[in-house]
Symmetry: C2
Subunit: 327 residues, 2 copies
């Protein structure tokens, strides 16, 4: 068992049998969605679904929506996971990724046409699931998040290879690209937990956790090691994605500042060399420190909330798990 699995185990233990039951129902419903919309989707989506993942977003929905009826909570969890999966399927087309979590991607199996359409269909089903809850507020939160995800991708594209991405712009991008769906998961939880007044604070908790998640992911891309991240270091550099470690390192190392990514980082060996150079500036430590600040703020924000102690503890463990994943 790796650290991430151990951490999820701790979250599940803190969430008790209710959380396990809800996650089980989420899996069942996800499988129904994959099988209920034609042979083509079944063929392409079943593998993606089975590949699983930590179901971090559904966990957030459930932990923020304790002790109320199952159906709407499960619908919300299924919706956020479908939306997440849709973005993964599209990302794999864009990155031409053949493998995800050790399984062939939809792109690898069916080509880019099938993968684009599969992503679109998963996307549509996310909304179809959520509309069954009868909550406009919820559909609004999901459409805001899904717009933000797409906008984050567009920002990342616009920033590609750029020499003057600021830390603020980077953070804004992370907020759109990743934190928005963490935030929406918590908001939906608050809503369906009958605690709409907690939507803002729990949404804020989710956003901070999501920011840290993305920031630490970007640190890991530079720090490696390869066997841990399942791909060569510096994959972001190779496709021109300018992340916080490079942004910070450029301030301290003028050769990095002058570096034309497009011309220099042309293969994994060059990318690894630039990663080493970034590390030498201390930028990785600084980026990690900034991420941990968001985790600490997320945890702090829970302290004053009027939620049961076991839920606070479980949410705390989720925040800790995001760090643990990169320890």
């Amino acid at each position: 068992m790796n650290t991430a699995q151990a951490q999820l185990g701790a979250v599940l233990a803190a969430g008790g049998p209710e959380l396990s039951r809800l996650l089980h129902r989420t899996e069942e419903r996800l499988a129904e969605v994959a099988e209920g919309h034609g042979a083509e989707l079944a063929e392409h989506a079943t593998g993606t679904l089975a590949a699983g993942g930590k179901r971090l977003r559904p966990v957030l929905v459930f932990l923020c929506a304790a002790g109320v009826g199952d159906d709407r909570r499960v619908a919300a969890a299924v919706a956020v996971e479908l939306l997440h999966m849709a973005t993964l399927v599209h990302d794999d087309v864009l990155d031409r990724s053949e493998l995800r979590r050790g399984r062939p991607t939809v792109f690898a199996d069916g080509g880019r046409l099938a993968a684009t359409a599969t992503g679109d269909l998963l996307f549509s089903r996310a909304f179809a699931e959520l509309v069954t809850t009868g909550s406009h507020e919820a559909v609004r939160a999901l459409s805001a998040a899904s717009s933000a995800l797409a906008r984050g991708e567009l920002m990342q594209r616009a920033d590609a290879w750029s020499e003057d991405v600021t830390p603020e712009r980077y953070l804004e991008r992370c907020r759109h690209k990743t934190a928005s769906l963490f935030e929406a998961s918590c908001r939906l939880g608050a809503l369906f937990g009958g605690r709409a007044e907690l939507s803002d604070p729990l949404g804020g908790f989710g956003e901070r956790v999501g920011l840290a998640f993305q920031m630490l992911d970007d640190v890991l891309d530079v720090s490696g090691p390869t066997e841990r991240i399942g791909k060569p270091r510096g994959a972001d550099l190779l496709d021109g994605t300018v992340t916080l470690p490079l942004i910070l390192a450029r301030r301290m190392d003028h050769e990095l500042r002058e570096l034309d990514l497009r011309a220099t980082v042309v293969d994994p060996a060059r990318a690894a060399a630039v990663c080493d150079r970034i590390r030498a500036t201390g930028a990785l430590d600084e980026a990690r420190r900034r991420a941990l600040t968001h985790v600490a703020e997320a945890k702090d924000s829970l302290a004053d909330l009027d939620i049961p102690n076991d839920r606070r503890r479980a949410l705390d463990l989720v925040a800790a798990g995001v760090v643990e994943r990169y320890a």
Copy 2:
């Protein structure tokens, strides 16, 4: 003025100043959406929006929703048009199309990453617009349509190069890929026109018009002429899309039946030769005849409906316009 424009003029005249006002508001709102979600979307979407098109789906919404408040009707029209645009932007990525309606596509301008994200964002905004109406029924109709569109694409992919696509399977694909959004436009109109009881019959009208639209489009791909369709004949054949003309022709010409598309139709010249052969079987006439049957049924279905005569006449003109486009 070409025939299609003349036809639209006739529809506008029949719809009166109300229709013109609503279409104008739709354009304004579409421009607001394009400009209100970041510089990146504004850059990519403004061209797509300005390229226009006939706004056929918004017209259907308005003609099916006469004489009630503007806001919800405009939201519905904007939503269906955004969804339509999202699919066009994604289609252009998949087909690697550089031009649409004489303008560079998002794919040509921004590359496949920007275009995929732009499509996703337009998609999200479609739902965001519609949720402002406060109607679950409406959001449900849109998510059903958007799932159907994606599923139609998946079916088309699964059928590519196939030698045994039946006319029924082809029709099912058209229903998903094209007719579903025509149907949803009419349903949304009925709903926001305060005539929910007309949702099924008007939805049925839209579906038949959409089927005819796709079927005639597929005839045109084979019949040309090139200067009319703005691309070489047989583009569908080149990417393995098996449409009704080929399906019918294969029943009458054993050489076509034996033809391995993938091996034979390798360039526009070969595609044109196969188009000639399809035409020689009379399959184009038969496919056109079948499409016209759907138009006739669509028109007939209006006869018994309790709607004002001017609306009936305008809807009739829309159905006629679909045929006119290919006359």
